[in-house]
Each structure stands twice: as structure tokens, then as C-alpha cells.
Symmetry: C2
Subunit: 250 residues, 2 copies
Amino acid sequence: MSGSGQMAESTSGDQKQASVSGGKKSGDKGLDAIYQSVSDAIIEHRLKPGARLREDALADVFGVSRTGIRKVLQRLALEQLVTLTPRRGASVTRPSVDEAKDVFEARLLVECALMEAAAKRITEADVEDLRNMASQEQKALRNREQQTAIKLSAAFHARLAELSGNRTLAGFVSQLCSRSSLILAVYGHSGHLGCESHDHENLIDLLATGEGVRAGEFMARHLKSIESSLSIFEEPEETPDLRDIFALND
Amino acid sequence: MSGSGQMAESTSGDQKQASVSGGKKSGDKGLDAIYQSVSDAIIEHRLKPGARLREDALADVFGVSRTGIRKVLQRLALEQLVTLTPRRGASVTRPSVDEAKDVFEARLLVECALMEAAAKRITEADVEDLRNMASQEQKALRNREQQTAIKLSAAFHARLAELSGNRTLAGFVSQLCSRSSLILAVYGHSGHLGCESHDHENLIDLLATGEGVRAGEFMARHLKSIESSLSIFEEPEETPDLRDIFALND
DNA sequence: CGCAGACATAACGTATACAATAACCGACAG
DNA sequence: CTGTCGGTTATTGTATACGTTATGTCTGCG
């Protein structure tokens, strides 16, 4: 999915405006696709934390100019997936220990609270969809496709949050899940994914039976178990530590 | 509105304003200052919802080229303060009824929960600072400077969230407060500001005495009273409503 | 032989130029 | 008089070019 995925701007001729009542916001031509590709690559750990993302290289790969790449990079930076250093370019964010703690604290607070609303609003189709996602995730895990599993797990949690009907909070959770994927990459043990057990299936069961409170409690345990499975140690190598170490004023 | 000095980031130096084309010795871009100016103007309702933000006009006003303006606009768009319509440019977001509901629901969930952590971590200096902010807000209200009061109110809530120590959630609350300011502009009664009473002072008292739970409950009442003071009615004029009205499938 | 300073290179930041598209207005026909 | 079609204009989207800065290397001097 990387590389291709941009519509060719060949003269389509009779592309009249049938968009009076058609597309939602399909204005972004190929930039959204590029964003998705890069985002997926980061979430799937194909781009590891600390990897440098040169604008020229990305522009070359995706066949657009640096202008578009900069837009994508900026969006990723606002979502905290990449870090933009003033004169040094972009790199995949390496979450700090504090960031990791904050992210999981936020998830604990928001995702659990959202379960009650989700339980009230969930439909049969939603349950079907969620079971499908969970099954795909399990399959990926069995096939040792950790990258895919991580992405699917994040998508599952994001989908869950969407059920609440609150788009604002759902978007926030989606961001948190993406960042969690980065945290997994840095502080997680290789070969030991967070959502390894059948927690997601259990979660679906609770929601399907309308047990919102129980689902929230279960989600709390689920997230705590993920967090505790991480080995959050202070990293010896942190670039801006120098000032701290030597107590130099800025 | 041009040339309003903002707080300088601690990262590297300070930049007064965007200088004319030529040597920018500051190196670091002054785009953050432009962002702050536009953001403040929106939050203070000097730019009202629906107002169009032409790139050329902004570029001319701030003395930079459209490139920088686009970056600022995009950031504002990701924070939902401006809406970017594909070929029509940027305009100040006019929050829908659903958005307003979502935002206040999110604030209710997050801000209240954060009060407990804030009560545990608050320091004397924080209390001093908060009282100062609340006093400024009251002064602005007495002087009928609604614009300033609205901005200060949003800043107060954002500052409160910062006390929790969770930067991720604090940033989220800050966004929600900015959006709330927009909601106030659309659905609030003129001459009747949300945080009119002395709720903020009471909130500080509760936090200063370590009553986190009480503070959370008070915050809940506070936010609900703001929300209920709004007149959230269905807007008769919503561009995409046509599909809804005529039940045209997409 | 080691360090320091300068130069070259490469990557980012900004501006400008070009192209595409949608809105607006005028003209013409029914 | 009205509706529709075509042209014009204005504004955004994209690309490219240029300037700035940081980094790495090379050379000269101690």
C-alpha cells in the first residue's frame, strides 16, 4: 500500500462536476493517501521511533513535491506521531516515559468512561463489525504478523470509541491509540504484544449484552495490563537532556 | 491586530514579528506568533464564526507569504477552529449542534476527572496564579470586555487542566476550551457570558484545600450551567442540510 | 599526531510563480 | 422578462527555486 495510491492526473476528459451532492470532503487529492501510508507505516513499526523522515526522500517516493510532504508531516506532528525539529527535519517520535504515562492515563480515563455510552448505542451491525476486527487481529497474531496486529488493535480501540457517538472524544482516542502503538514499539517487549489475550472478545460480549459499567471496568483492567506489560525505564539517551545534566540555563 | 507580542517559547530565542522579506535573523519562524494572533482573534470573537480567512489577505496583514499562512491555517483546522473547504478557502468554524454537545460532554468527562489530580498537585504558586487569572477575568467582566473575558475564561480552564500534570490531557482540554469559545459565540446569548458568577473563585478554594472530589463535582455543575445557558437550537441555515431535508442518499 | 577552523554539501524554511477550479457576471435566446 | 450558457476573475493547490543553516570532512598548524 505504500508508494502507489495516488490518482493519476491524466486528463480524464469528461470529469464534470457530479459533486454537487456527492463526495463528502474528497478535496484532498492524494495527500490523505500519503498521510495514511506514512501513518500506517509508523503504527506498524515499519518506521521505527527515531527514524528520520527526509522531505526529499518522501517526496521522491510518493511522487509529489515537498510542499505536500510538508503538509503531511505537519499533520503527523500535530498528532504527535512525528517530531519536527526546527532545522533538522522530521523523525518518528520517540515517546518519553512521561508521555507514555500520560497517554495511558488519558486512555484509562476516556476509554473506560466511553464504554457506558457505547453499550447503550451499540447495534447488531456494530457487534458484527467488532467481532470481525477482533478475529482479524487474532489471525494476525497467530501468523506472527505483529505489525498488522498492532495496527488492528489500535483500530479496534478507536472503533470502540466511535460507538459512543462523540466524535470529538473518538478522535482523541484514535490519536491516543496511535501514540500507544509508538509506546509499544519503544517500551514493549519484542514478541509480546499488549492485547494478546482474548480481552477484545470479552469486551465485545459485555457491550453486546449492554453491561456498560462492567465493560468500563474490564477496559480499565485491559489497559492497565497493557501498561504494566511495558518496561518503562529511563532512557539513557535523550537529546535534550544535556541542559538538564549540566544545569546550563537556556 | 498585527504585531501583538506573545509569550516566547523557551526553545530558542524570541522573535518579535515577521519581518519583511529579506533577512530573518531569528531563524526560528515567527509563524507561532501569527498562529497565536489568529487564534486569539477567533477566541475573542473578533473573527466571528463563518468569517472567511483569505490566504492573500492574511499574508498581506502579517507580512509573510501564503506558505506560512497555509501552515497556520492548517494547524487551526486540525484544532477545529477553522474549517478548510477544498476549493473555497478557510473560514472560522461554525460549530454544529452535535459538535457543541460533544465538546461539552468531553469537557464534562475530562475536566472533572482532572480536578482530583489537580487538587493533589497544586502548589501555592499555582493558587496565586489562578487567583490572579480569576481576578483579571472578573475585572474584564465588570468592564464589559466580553471578548477579553471569554479568552481569560478559556485560559483559566486550560490552566486548571495543566495542574493535573498530564500534558496530553491538558492539551486536549485546551482545545476543547477554544472550541467552547466558538460555541459561545454561536449559541450564547449576547451580554450573558458563561462563567459569569464566581464559580472560578470557588473552584480555586476547593482545590487549595485539597478537596479534589468536591472540586470535580463543582466543575460538573459549572460546566452544566454553562451548557444549559446556551440556546442550542437547530440552525435553519446549514449548507449540507439539504440532503437531510430532501432525504437524498449520498 | 591531534585539534581547530573553514569549506563544501545537503537538507530545511520561505517565497514566488504557475495552473486549475469554482464563483460571479453578462449576454443571448426563448 | 426569464433562464441558461459562456466568459472572466478571483482564490486556492501545487511545484519549483532560492536562501539559510547545520553537519561532516578536509586541511593546516601547533
